[in-house]
Structure formats: C-alpha cells, structure tokens
C-alpha cells in the first residue's frame, strides 16, 4: 500500500489525465517533490520555495494540513492526500 494522492482537474494535464496517483510515505513536502520527479511541472504549480502555495489547499484524510504540521505533516501508507485549489476569494462559507 502506498499514499493515495488525488489530483485536481486543472493539474490532471500533467498526470496524463490520472485523477489519482501514488506516492511514498513521508512529509507532504517530500511527497510534492516526488510528484515533481514523476510528473515534471506539477511541483511549481503546488509549491514555491519549499512552501505550499497560498491558494492551494492540501488535505490529509480530509483534514487541512494547516491544522496539522503544514508542509512537515507526515503521511503514511494508506493515507489519502487531496490537493484542492482554493476558490479565489473562496472559502468554505460564503454567507455574508
């Protein structure tokens, strides 16, 4: 078993149309670097200078990594990682 990574539609061009790819356990930032090796170009879309881009949300088993240890969050076999572009201005609750 590996780590499952769900790829958002705008990035699937870089993963040959795959919605889900596999990665090895470790920190989120290592996982992003690993994705970059497999799918060149994806790394800079998600991160910049070792940090996840401000308008990219990453969830580990449905929890936002900013509630965990951000880029240093460790994922293990069987974990599910989702990469979700934040809707700009975007938020979970547009209520006002």
């Amino acid at each position: 078993m590996a780590v499952k990574v769900r790829i958002p539609t705008p990035l699937q061009r870089l993963t040959q149309g795959k919605e889900e790819v596999e990665g090895t356990p470790g920190t989120i930032i290592n996982l992003v670097n690993e994705l970059e090796k497999k799918f060149p170009g994806i790394g800079e879309r998600i991160s910049e200078g070792g940090k996840i881009r401000r308008f990219v949300n990453i969830y580990v088993n449905e929890e936002d990594i900013r509630f965990l240890q951000a880029e240093a969050t460790v994922v293990k076999d069987g974990d599910e990682v989702s990469i979700v572009p934040a809707i700009a201005g975007g938020n979970s609750q547009e209520v006002i």
Partner: protein, 411 residues
C-alpha cells in the same frame, strides 16, 4: 466603451483577457481587474460624478463593465451618518456610520456587488445566475436577478432556518437545499459551475463581483466632502470588502480626486472566527484556518482567501485588528440601535464593539475622524437578540393599569 484592460493574477502577475474566469491557471491565485487609470482620470471628475444619479453607478468608470449599467440602477449611495451620540458614548470627537442597512433592494452591502456581477453576467451573455449562500447574498441574487430577468439558482444547506429561506423564496428563484454543510454546498457549486454555463456570482464572476465593494469606499470619500477619514473600521469575512475599500481610496488618489490619503484601515472580526485578526495581532501574513463558532454567521469564514491581502492592507496603512465575543457583539448591536437608531445585523455589532475596543486601547485616536462600515440590516438576524432586549410592558386596557406601569418606568 469600458476602461478595463484585462485580468491579472495577484500572486504571479500572469495576465488574462476579460472572461468569466476567476483563478490563475498557473498558481491558482485570484484574478484582479486591471483598469486604464490614465483614461479614467480624464473622464471621472468630481463635477462629473456629482452630475449623476445617486446610486453606485455614479463611479461606473471604476467598475468592470464595458457598456452601460444594466442591473441595480438604484443600488448604492447609502447614507453616511454623523454619529454624534455614538461618538459621545465611545469618547471620540468625530464618528460616521456608513449605513448599508438601508441598501436597495435587500438591505445589505451585497446589493452593491450583485448589481455589478449581474451587469457583467448580462455582458457575458449568461441567462442564468447562481450563488451558494444562506443569507444576504442569496437575498440579493434572488431580488436583483428577478428584476433583471435572469433564471436563478440559489444553493443553500438543507438545515437552514425558515426565516432566512422566506427572504429568498419570495423572489421565486430555484432554491436548492443541499443535504450537506456549507463546505459541501460550495464544493458542489464549483462542480456545477464547471459543467453548466451559468454565472455563479461568487465563483466564475468573482473578480467583477468583488469590485462592486469599492463603491462603499467611493461614497465614503464623496460624503466626507472628498476627503479620506483618518480611520476606517471594516468587518471581515473573506477579507474582500476591506481590501476593496482600501483599493477605492487608492484609486481616488490615483485619479486625482483625493489629494491626501493616510487612512488607517482596521479589521473587525468575532473572536469565534478571527483568523485575519489573529494573524494581524501575531504580526504574521500566515492565515491559520479556524472552525467558526460565533453568532456573527455572516462573518463566519474560517479559511478566508483574501485574508492575506487584508493583513497586508492593515499593515501597509498602520491600522490594526480587533475581535469581540458574542456578548460584546450583542452589546454592539444594542449600542448602535439606542444611540443612532440603526438596527444592524450581527456583523454590525462586531464592527461597533471592535471600534469601541480600538478606541479604548488607543489604536484609534479620540480626536480623529473615524468611519465604521455597517454592512447589513438587523431585521435579518433578529434571532440573535432573543432574550437579550428589554421587556415588553403588558397591561390591561385601562388608564390605571397604564399609570401603574408608568410609575415603574419613571422610577
């Protein structure tokens, strides 16, 4: 003929033509409307503005439309109230309330942004408009959309209170109640927006929609006789309104309408959802998302996408941020009502209570000119005041009964 030259990513600077798009294809950053200010400067003068109708379109050159305004022709230009009673109560010399509790047609500042969004939707050729919301935005899209002849889809979480539903349903939109929480409603709406060619005002029309907030700032300047205040206090949900109010001030400076601008911009949030103010207080740009728990539901965005930019504005202008408890929010609503006769929704209570704290801590000077932005009407969130108001005096229909109660009242 419009004055917009294109869209530009706020993060990486990539440029895009004017289209119903909202994120940078490369880095997912938000897109911002770019104007040709040289051209605007020649047309948009004080004299020209004053000659136009008293509505938000009097600043149309600084709004992202190509042709003439088509929706919300009577929206905007709400009163700027000189709040002497509240000023006295708070111990400051000059205080103004920008009163969007009387915005046309649905009593919140959302009438501004939706007027702009739906005009743009017409220009793009959409026949259907949509949004995900439970409150002010749903009401405004339903109402403006009815008048403008759009098909309307309004998405809400299924567990919403009946009173909020009626204020949308009366305009007969297609109201879709989704079995899920706000997150799920929004996720669904993004998928729908990808598949159907509809104008989702807060998704694919967002760059244009958000620009409508600037009209609140333009009006403040005009109503202060073309001067900028020393301080402006703005409630923050996504942080968009705060950044746009500041943008409006800067634009008026840029086109020469304002000679001098050193306004400090202050952010107001509820303690139960204060990711922006927390970042300001900690002196960082990093917004840590929170799970909202506050009666100020219209401000309850735990992961505010414009939060970073709002923090930058506050820092750049030398302002600050403050947050207040639910109790303080109620007290804020009541204080505004009993001093100025204005009944604001919970977000207004947040703004008043934060302003009080900012004055007490000296962040806002007592002899300075301060404007507070009140963004929605209290009639919409009456349940927040249940058990928190004074009591009704019940009497029998005779004079003796009345005089008995009068004695108690006059004690």
């Amino acid at each position: 003929m419009g004055y917009v030259s294109g869209l530009k990513c706020r993060e990486c600077g990539r440029e895009y033509p004017v289209d119903p798009i909202y994120v940078c294809e490369f880095c997912f950053g938000p897109l911002e409307v770019v104007y040709d200010y040289k051209k605007i400067k020649k047309v948009l003068t004080k004299k020209n503005i004053k000659s136009r109708g008293e509505n938000l379109w009097r600043y149309k050159e600084l709004l992202p439309i190509d042709g003439e305004p088509q929706v919300g022709l009577e929206s905007g230009f709400t009163p700027l109230i000189k709040a002497d009673n509240l000023a006295k109560e708070l111990g400051v010399s000059e205080l103004y309330v920008k009163d969007d509790t009387v915005a046309h047609p649905t009593l919140s500042f959302k009438d501004r942004v939706v007027a702009v969004a739906l005009t743009k939707a017409k220009e793009f050729g959409f026949d259907t408009v949509a949004c995900a919301s439970t409150g002010n935005l749903a009401h405004s899209v339903s109402a403006h959309g009815a008048k403008a002849g759009f098909k309307r889809f309004v998405f809400i979480p299924a567990n919403l209170e009946a009173s909020k539903i009626v204020a949308s349903l009366v305009y007969e939109p297609n109201l879709v109640a989704v079995d899920g929480n706000y997150d799920e409603v929004n996720r669904l709406c993004s998928e729908i927006a990808n598949k159907y060619k509809w104008a989702f005002v807060n998704i694919n029309i967002r760059p244009f929609y958000a620009e409508g907030s600037k009209t609140q700032g333009f009006e403040i300047i005009e109503q202060l006789d073309w001067k900028a205040p020393d301080n402006v206090v703005v409630p923050c949900a996504s942080g968009s309104l705060l950044t746009k109010v500041w943008k409006s001030f800067k634009e008026f400076k840029k086109i020469g309408i304002l000679k001098k601008l050193d306004t400090k911009v202050f952010a107001a949030q509820a303690t139960g959802c204060s990711p922006i103010v927390a970042a300001i207080k900690q002196g960082t740009d990093v917004i840590r998302p929170v799970k909202p728990d506050t009666i100020a539901k219209s401000l309850a965005i735990g992961n505010p996408a414009d939060g970073f930019y709002a923090c930058q504005v506050v820092r750049e202008t030398g302002g600050y941020g403050e947050d207040v408890s639910d109790k303080e929010i109620i007290d804020g609503i009541k204080l505004l009502a009993k001093t100025e006769g204005i009944f604001a929704e919970t977000a207004g209570g947040v703004t008043v209570a934060c302003t009080k704290k900012l004055i007490e801590s000296g962040k806002i000077g007592r002899d300075e000119i301060t404007v507070i932005c009140i963004t929605g009407n209290g009639l919409k969130t009456q349940e927040a005041l249940t058990g928190q108001t004074t009591e009704v005096h019940y009497i029998k229909p005779n004079l003796a009964a009345f005089e008995e109660i009068l004695k108690k009242i006059q004690k």
